[in-house]
Symmetry: C2
Subunit: 584 residues, 2 copies
């Protein structure tokens, strides 16, 4: 008898696919005599948001449950065979229409049990992207699951992260329940979103719990991207300090692991307080480098993990939306060059990517040379669609009918004409436009709404400009300068007027990124930033830009989430507010 960890990726609402996965499993040779464990909410998908309330979803979910019960009613399971499957349990009011309670549970399937729920998630996270209290009712009882002579303590995702933030302590409840008994291990069923620090935190916490119980910790995690949220899988088993098995990151996987011998559980004492995930939102990724506060540098390992995450994020979004063509607008700058390179590197058989370059009279010849060289390096056809004539047509239209286009109006129209042409091409070919904005420009609103900020999904929206450069250099190291070095070395420019440079309007990116990361973590106030040696005028200007550009971010596409604190669903700020209140 082994534990089989099913690290799966299914589209939300694709109940047929989920049924088939289980049906196929029942026919596989590994099926009988093993314990099969599945991620949290395997049956329903996650995060569902309001779908969980929609009558159609509820009906189909229950049809799935019934179909699975019917399936197992016909199958003769051996004494040893078991499935532990994450799902939802609904309770309804009298009128049977409105769910009164929805629980996040583990269903058990054995010879004697056909989808009975045995454990309910106790800790419902509400920070950042999480809204679980909005939809779910927490459990309040621990579970030691006994099967074929084995005993396991069960936890669901956040339950392992007990901290002072929560009134209940499921880990302590499990420790108290286990006291005096013998366990073969702890199993945690997760749908745990990835970010660059998440995997090591999980293993550290699991190891901490394993050491307390002196028994292995089995961690099964969902894989796959759901809009902006990336689930990395990376399921693992840790025995005290040693990771004894590890599944793939960013890919579906199936992993068989031995069941450890029983350990006697006694004198456990007080549950160790977990690293508080909520608090990590307040921890800016900054550090002192050469005596100066800077954004924390991303290690090669982390850059590789980011590549894995972006790959899964893009590909799952495309697959789940039914798209297999991509379209990127090249400007001759680093962001679009990196995005095109990423899409090309991530391309699967049968998929295509196309690039368009749309120069204006302000576009340097270097911009064309870079774009041309990049596309040659990548083996991608580059379309040239100059906007000079269109731009002057618009200028004439305004001259003749309204007022002459000048300044910002004349800059932005170029960007918006490009956005329009880009989406015209997208309409022609059915290609998905990949956004090319980075986190720094998103933060300060240094982009044109409906112009360069357009797209279906953003790959770089959670990477500061200096991290965009780092990722480009990292790729060049591994792919022999596939991104022309000229684009890494030239000073960034929007090229919307003559001799424009980003640094005319913004602090140098190194400083800007440091201010942004500090401020966006919630934790740094103006006086704190000045204490770090930053310039008051500069800091005030940046904070004002952040506060004033909320309206642009609220119309932005989903951004693949790579950090603790990202723009998107997990960061919610009103548009209307007094903008200089932080500058007192």
């Amino acid at each position: 008898m082994q534990i089989v960890i099913h690290q799966t990726d299914h589209t939300i609402g694709n109940f047929t696919q989920i049924y088939k996965y289980i049906e196929n499993l029942t026919r596989s040779e590994d099926f009988q005599d093993n314990i099969h464990i599945f991620p949290e909410t395997f049956l329903s998908g996650y995060p569902l948001q309001d779908l969980v309330l929609q009558k159609t979803f509820i009906r189909q979910y229950h049809e799935l449950l019934q179909a699975l019960r019917d399936l197992f009613a016909k199958i003769k399971l051996s004494d040893k065979t078991a499935l532990l499957v994450g799902g939802l349990r609904y309770e309804f009011k009298d009128n049977a229409d409105i769910p009164s309670n929805i629980y996040n549970v583990i269903y058990e399937v054995t010879k004697k049990s056909n989808f009975n729920d045995i454990y309910t998630k106790c800790l419902l996270p509400d920070y950042d992207i999480f809204d679980e209290s909005k939809y779910y009712t927490p459990g309040s009882a621990p579970c030691i699951w006994s099967h074929a002579g084995c005993d396991f303590g069960l936890l669901i995702c956040e339950d392992m992260w007990h901290s002072e933030q929560y009134a209940v302590n499921p880990l302590q409840m499990l420790m108290d329940e286990a006291n005096g008994k013998e366990l073969n291990g702890i199993i945690n069923f997760s749908a745990s979103p990835w970010n660059i620090d998440k995997e090591e935190k999980r293993i550290k916490r699991a190891s901490e719990i394993s050491r307390v119980f002196k028994t292995p910790f089995y961690y099964v995690n969902k894989v796959g991207a759901e809009d902006e949220i990336i689930f990395d899988g990376a399921s693992f088993v840790v025995n005290e300090t040693q990771v004894i098995a590890k599944a793939k990151s960013f890919k579906s996987d199936l992993m068989k692991v031995e069941i450890a011998k029983k350990s006697k559980i006694e004198n456990l004492g007080v549950a160790p307080v977990g690293a508080n995930s909520w608090e990590s939102l307040f921890g800016p990724h900054i550090e002192k480098i050469n005596g100066k506060m800077s954004l924390k540098k991303l290690s090669d390992d982390k850059l590789d993990a980011i590549l894995g995450a972006l790959n899964l994020g893009l590909q799952d979004y495309a697959r789940k939306c039914g798209m297999n063509k991509f379209l990127v607008a090249l400007s001759g700058g680093i962001d679009s060059a990196l995005v095109l390179t990423l899409v090309k590197l991530f391309l699967k058989p049968g998929q295509e990517v196309e690039a368009i370059y749309m120069p204006s009279k302000f576009s340097a010849s270097l911009s064309w040379e870079i774009s041309d060289k990049l596309c040659k390096n990548l083996g991608i056809k580059l379309h040239n669609l100059p906007i000079k004539f269109l731009h002057s047509s618009v200028q004439n239209l305004f001259n003749d009918n309204l007022d002459p286009l000048e300044g910002l109006a004349d800059e932005n129209i170029q960007s918006r004409l490009r956005g329009s042409l880009l989406f015209a091409r997208s309409n022609q070919t059915g290609a998905m436009v990949i956004n090319t904005s980075n986190k720094s420009e998103l933060a300060v609103g240094y982009s044109t709404l409906y112009g360069d900020s357009v797209g279906a999904i953003s790959l770089l929206g959670d990477l500061y400009k200096s991290e965009v450069f780092a990722l480009a250099r990292h790729i060049n190291k591994n792919f022999s300068d596939i991104i022309p070095v000229e684009v890494i070395e030239r000073p960034p420019s929007a090229e919307l007027r003559a001799d424009q440079k980003d640094e005319d309007s913004l602090p140098p990116y190194e400083t800007l990124d440091m201010i942004l990361e500090s401020y966006l973590s919630y934790r740094y106030d103006l006086p704190d930033l000045l204490n770090l040696g930053l310039n008051k005028t500069e800091v005030e200007r940046v904070i004002k830009l952040i506060l004033n550009s909320e309206y642009k971010r609220q119309q932005f596409c989903p951004i693949l989430k790579l950090k603790d604190k990202s723009f998107g669903f997990g960061r919610r700020v009103p548009i209307c507010k007094k903008v200089d209140f932080n500058l007192g």
Copy 2:
């Protein structure tokens, strides 16, 4: 001694303004010897979302609290004078940076008390737009406030709406606490968002509670719009079944009311269960008209209230964003004609509105005539900015460099060119572009992303097309056909190809709106809709359109919320999902 109800509207984060309001009050002749009551979270603003965690916000909020305490330390209050002010109370962890608990409280100011919190909100709503569990910690104790011989039971907003949905019952706690005592009334401090059914529900519930206690119910509500959310004020006092005082709707107001004599509270029994606000999300506004299920008709009173709400919503958004110019693109259709009319009707002294008409070769001459007539009726200058030439320039560009523009690509480019021109004008004049989409087209994605869907804020995004017509007719009744009747009578068309009509792609709006309202309420499944006598093919098509257009709605501007269930922050649905899961 009277109760003075302060129905106020302040910009979030404008602490100076809030301080001055109180400072001015202390100098007013009504100040001494009265009880001044303020809305929930008067001191901090609401909804704050993540601002509540931002260190700068927290610091400045505490500076305000300190400044107010300093102010009252210097003022000699009479025995009778009191203020009850909604605000936040923060608790911090050891490191003093991260708030460990944030409470929504009522602060008391009297001769002996200088901003002491006396009551904490017990029920934290999490449905729809609400996320209060995400940020706040609930209270658990009732409060009977005694002052100068008077006694009042206190509640904050949702506390009065006890229902089965909540584990605690603050109304019951207050009833138990009051038992055997004498009360002068119940005071509810609210920041209660408006929707078309909300006011009557509030009064009904307050009256129900007043009848139980046999003492008046004082309801003080915030006024003002915060992005999409509109707070209507409409503070009131109800004594059993009689409304004895009522403040203005959609405007700041100050209302003095008498304090009732004491009532002996005894034998109250069990608290009446409230109308469950959460459940109302599941209640579609549909009814049987002439034997056929239809969208519920809006009465004249409700249409008037919608006008008040839209007026406040637009004006507060503009004021809080510092804008005083508006810009509307006219198409010759009903939506843009109504939007322009609304903006003009809402205009304040010193504000301006401008209209642009951007015809293509598919624009009927009637579209120009309607736009021209409307602008003459409204006294607005109409700019004509034909896109014919630009459109053919783009066609040539694609012909010469890529593939000829055809079909959808050729339709959408017209809409996007208009979006670009519109925002170029906005950049020129600093005017705010008002979006012209309606709820029906938003629901089915019958609009062009970055094209006709652009704008800073949407006035009609919570009104179905048939309600748009009803509102236009309502205005025409009161303003002698200010909107040309031709636009109400012509069949709706996007005019992006020859002889295009909305009904070529969509069911008649009457049917469409009925399906949309039913489905969007969560409560109607395909079989339910078929039971209502609707056509299966039609219903399936509409549901598919809703599910497939989520990506467009996620890039949409804030929509002024008029209904229980609206697109926007309160409706959260993943983009990636299997789209035909509802059609099983």
